[in-house]
């Protein structure tokens, strides 16, 4: 950059200011951000860009981070399209404000497909404004300019840094989105590379980031105790004794309040109801937890849940023998099932309730400032939430605080997995705060966290099928027996309609029966898919064995012709992509190779959350039914990968989480009481059982989609199919610890 150009640029820039600290005064970051906000039509806008004159590019990330890596991935898309150098980028979390950022939510592995276009529109807009600024400063045609490495470079080689251009850029007209063009993916320098998580340094230094770490001046601490049986209501408690304990400031009963559960998001509506209980407020966390352990409450259990897992199983087994249930898909199957020339099989599968057990137990900090005659009440909330904006609704419904008078601070989440979509814990914190002077932090114990979960729902599937003498699947008769609450299928129970048996499976009849329960259920990493995959993909393996066919070949044949079941719909199966991942997983795992004594390989494929994923597990089983998963080979097609390190991490984590869950975890309830209290009764897999995980991405020319969930569902059937291959024992129920198989 020569001096003349520099001087001219600075003259122009300084004309915008009143002099003085020009470099600082010409930042105009918020103005640029506002301009971009208007540009991309605010409702789908998910970040702000600011460029300082020193060249630092700040990108605000508005989607909550729970370990899925979105706080790194979305800013990568903006930076790429801008022509920024990643080293110049600093990522900060945004405020919670739906007017500026649209829906700030994380769930369903949708953040990438939902935001990709708006992120790159924002990046491209910023780029065009910087190029416009350089065109003025250098007095050259903008067609001769290119944005790269945080600079705008002229054909001649002359360049101006983004920092130097920031002040001018903000005065540029906002590009019409229709005129924007986007980078050729072949020219990407950030997207598709491995970028480490933007908060890693803070994490390894132990800096406060999580909701449970929130500490505001004059803060009190709270614990809350609900009835061990869901729906029980407190009548009285040992109030004098509790209030006399060290560090306790107050203790009181909260009555149930259904209004807190009202939500504008249909899948959340009716869930976050305030349950009755006893609140204890004190000087520090331990004081209130200690008092909680000394609490004696008299409960009215007349309306409490009577749900029992053993009773649910009995009912399901009775239903399995019947011809009842709602017909979801109908094909004539009886003749083929009964034909003597065919081979038929009848199997009853079951899967348990499981808990989310986010490592960070639920918590929420609330400062409620009561209204006066002249001023309405207001509230500030610090919350680890997958949908932080939704807590404003809770405040409105529960305490009548207007949404614009609620300030929400989103914190990093110590895990989410779907649990932090429901804000019952925030309702409790608000109700406690409304009776407490100053801010108060509610922290759940691990036992609260397990007992008060919105569980991954358990369920049953009665499966019948027949194969012809030629080894073809000629009848598939599936009876899903799940659960409903108030007559409506709970989240994750029943078939959604995009399962293989509901779409492309030949000769399939599908029925569904729902048993009414009170137990709270919610979204748990890949809802519905995480259990149906186990049944569908295990049973298909049973059928390929029955038919004497190679399992990979059998699965590929079932996919049929290469086709997209609904062209352009990312949530529709593409059989071509399915075949490709099955073949790749088979090839990379050495499918069909001779295995040593005691070893077996198992294959499974599942399509969900817009992802096509196949997995092969290599499993060793010893004579005492100890099993070791040596290796899992994964083939993934989610389109082009944004952050290779983040994507790989999600797959690795899904394999470990899937294995931990299918091998070890089960929630049971007896007469409405959850039987597992803590990790000693609800274990998590430890490091020693971790398999080698070999991941292969097919970066097909489709839309990029999310990876927080879909690598988990195929793991369980891949492992149980491998155990069958190793031992000849078919496992039709999880967890494996209950089936006599011990993970080592």
């Amino acid at each position: 950059m020569n001096n003349v150009l520099t001087r001219r640029h600075f003259l122009k820039a300084s004309a915008l200011t009143s002099g003085g600290l020009m470099l600082e005064l010409t930042l105009s970051g918020p103005l640029l951000a506002e301009a971009l906000g208007t540009l991309v039509g605010s409702k789908e806008l998910n970040a702000w860009v600011q460029i300082s004159s020193s060249g630092q590019i700040t990108i605000y990330s508005s989607v909550p981070e729970m370990g899925q890596g979105i706080k790194t991935a979305l800013p990568m898309i903006i930076a790429e399209e801008m022509g920024a150098k990643w080293d110049d980028v600093k990522v900060l979390k945004s405020d919670v404000d739906s007017a500026r950022f649209g829906l700030q939510g994380a769930g369903g592995s949708t953040s990438i497909p939902r935001n990709f276009d708006s992120m790159r529109t924002m990046g491209a807009s910023a780029r065009e404004m910087l190029i416009g600024a350089a065109s003025e400063a250098l007095e050259v045609d903008r067609a001769e300019l290119e944005a790269k490495d945080s600079k705008v470079i002229h054909l001649s080689g002359e360049s101006l840094s983004f920092g130097a251009l920031a002040a001018l850029a903000v005065r540029q007209p906002i590009p019409d989105p229709a005129t924007l063009s986007f980078k050729d993916p072949k020219a990407y320098t950030i997207i598709g590379t491995s970028i480490a998580g933007v908060d890693n340094l803070g994490i390894v230094l132990g800096q406060s980031q999580f909701g449970i770490d929130v500490d505001v001046p004059n803060m009190r601490y709270a614990a809350y105790t609900r009835c061990p049986r869901l729906g029980g209501v407190p009548i009285s408690f040992n109030e004098q004794a509790i209030k006399a304990l060290p560090g306790v400031l107050d203790a009181f009963i909260l009555t149930p309040d259904a209004r807190a559960g009202q939500s504008s998001m249909s899948f959340l509506d009716g869930l976050a109801v305030l349950q009755g209980g006893v609140a204890i407020v004190g000087e520090d966390t331990w004081s209130v937890l200690n008092a909680k352990s000394n609490l004696k409450v008299v409960w009215d259990e007349s309306a409490a849940s009577t749900d029992s897992w053993s009773q649910m199983r009995r009912e399901a087994k009775n239903l399995a023998g019947t011809a009842g249930g709602q017909i979801k898909r109908d094909s004539p199957v009886e003749a083929a099932l009964n034909a003597p020339s065919n081979k038929a099989i009848d199997a009853f599968y079951e899967f348990p309730y499981v808990a989310h057990i986010c490592m960070e137990p639920m918590n929420c900090t609330v400062h409620y400032i009561a209204g006066t005659e002249s001023e309405a009440p207001r509230m500030e909330v610090w919350v680890p939430s997958q949908f932080p904006g939704q807590v404003k609704e809770v405040a409105k419904n529960l305490l009548g605080v207007d949404e614009e008078r609620v300030t929400v601070n989103m914190t990093r989440m110590g895990g989410g997995f779907g649990r932090r979509a429901v804000h019952d814990f925030a309702a409790e914190a608000m109700a406690i705060a409304a009776r407490t002077e100053g801010p108060v932090k509610l922290t759940w114990t691990r036992t609260d966290d397990i007992h008060q979960d919105f569980f991954r729902v358990g369920g049953f599937e009665n499966m019948k099928a027949a194969v012809s003498p030629e080894g073809k699947l000629v009848a598939w008769d599936q009876h899903y027996i799940g659960f409903a609450r108030n007559g409506k299928a709970v989240i994750g129970s029943g078939l959604r309609g995009n399962e293989f048996s509901m779409t492309a499976m030949p000769n399939a009849r599908v029925r569904q029966s729902l048993i009414d329960i009170k137990t709270h259920c919610g979204a748990w990493r890949a809802p519905g898919a995480n259990t149906n995959a186990f049944v569908e993909q295990s049973f298909l393996h049973e059928l390929s064995v029955l038919a004497g066919r190679d399992h990979a070949e059998f699965l590929i044949e079932l996919m049929g012709e290469r086709r997209w079941l609904s062209e352009g719909n990312i949530n529709a199966l593409n059989t071509g992509r399915a075949i490709d991942v099955i073949q790749l997983a088979a090839q990379k795992s050495g499918w069909g190779k001779a295995m040593p004594q005691g070893w077996g390989q198992g294959l499974a494929f599942y399509f969900c959350h817009a992802a096509h994923i196949a997995e092969v597990a290599d499993v060793y089983v010893d004579a005492d039914q100890n099993f070791k998963v040596g290796k899992v080979t994964v083939a993934v097609d989610v389109g082009p990968i944004i952050n290779l390190s983040g994507a790989l991490s999600q797959v690795q984590g899904s394999i470990v989480d899937g294995l931990s869950t299918m091998a070890l975890q089960q929630i049971t309830m007896t007469n409405g009481r959850i039987n597992q209290d803590n990790f000693d009764q609800y274990p998590v897999m430890r490091m020693g059982a971790t398999p080698e995980i070999d991941v292969h991405f097919i970066q097909s020319n489709h839309q990029s989609t999310g990876l927080g969930e879909p690598a988990l569902p195929p793991l369980a059937p891949a492992v149980t199919n491998a155990i069958f291959a190793a031992t000849g024992t078919r496992i039709r129920s999880m967890p494996l610890s209950q089936e006599g198989f011990k993970l080592v």
Binding site: L205, Q207, Q209, D213, C358, M359, V656, D680, V684
Partner: protein, 160 residues
């Protein structure tokens, strides 16, 4: 209530507390050191792991009245503006997902490397068996510990 003298990350603290209050809550609520995390309260998950005289200890079940020795928390692991090799390796290998358990993981790993500078996979699995990771970052933790072991052997330390 009694007053206890604690040495935490090289600094002395006088803490007035009930004798049975676990060290974890003293660190988090009294000393405002939030790096050690609450996960279960029964020494199952390891999120609360700190060092006492260099040994990894689960602070959620250790009453303050029984703390004797110098306490080091994740906040005190980096020294003189330099990251501990385990911390550097954690960044290099992009280990964290949600990050909640990682302070405990790092403290367990650092304590192991102090006595076993060249651990095998089995050594690592054993030393790390007290720490849960619900996100499933075990593959990367193992790799990062090996990398930290190598870095220590060539005395590589990165600036904070």
């Amino acid at each position: 209530m009694q007053t206890y003298q604690l040495m935490v990350n090289g600094a002395p603290h006088a803490v007035t507390s009930e004798p049975d209050k676990p060290l974890l809550w003293v660190l988090r609520d009294h000393l405002k050191l939030k790096g050690a995390k609450y996960g279960c309260g029964i020494a199952q998950c390891g999120a609360c792991t700190v060092h006492i005289d260099g040994v990894a200890v689960q602070s959620c079940v250790l009453p303050i009245s029984r703390v004797s020795g110098r306490v080091t928390t994740i906040e005190g692991l980096a020294k003189n503006g330099l990251l501990h090799p385990v911390q550097s390796a954690w960044i290099e290998h992009d280990v964290p997902q949600c990050g909640y358990c990682q302070a405990g993981q790092i403290m367990s790993a650092a304590a192991m490397l102090a006595v076993n500078p060249a651990p095998t996979d089995v050594d690592i699995d054993t030393a790390m068996s007290g720490n849960y990771c619900r996100c499933g970052t075990y593959v990367r933790i193992r790799a990062a510990i090996h990398a930290a072991a190598e870095a220590r052997s060539v005395e590589g330390e990165a600036e904070v």
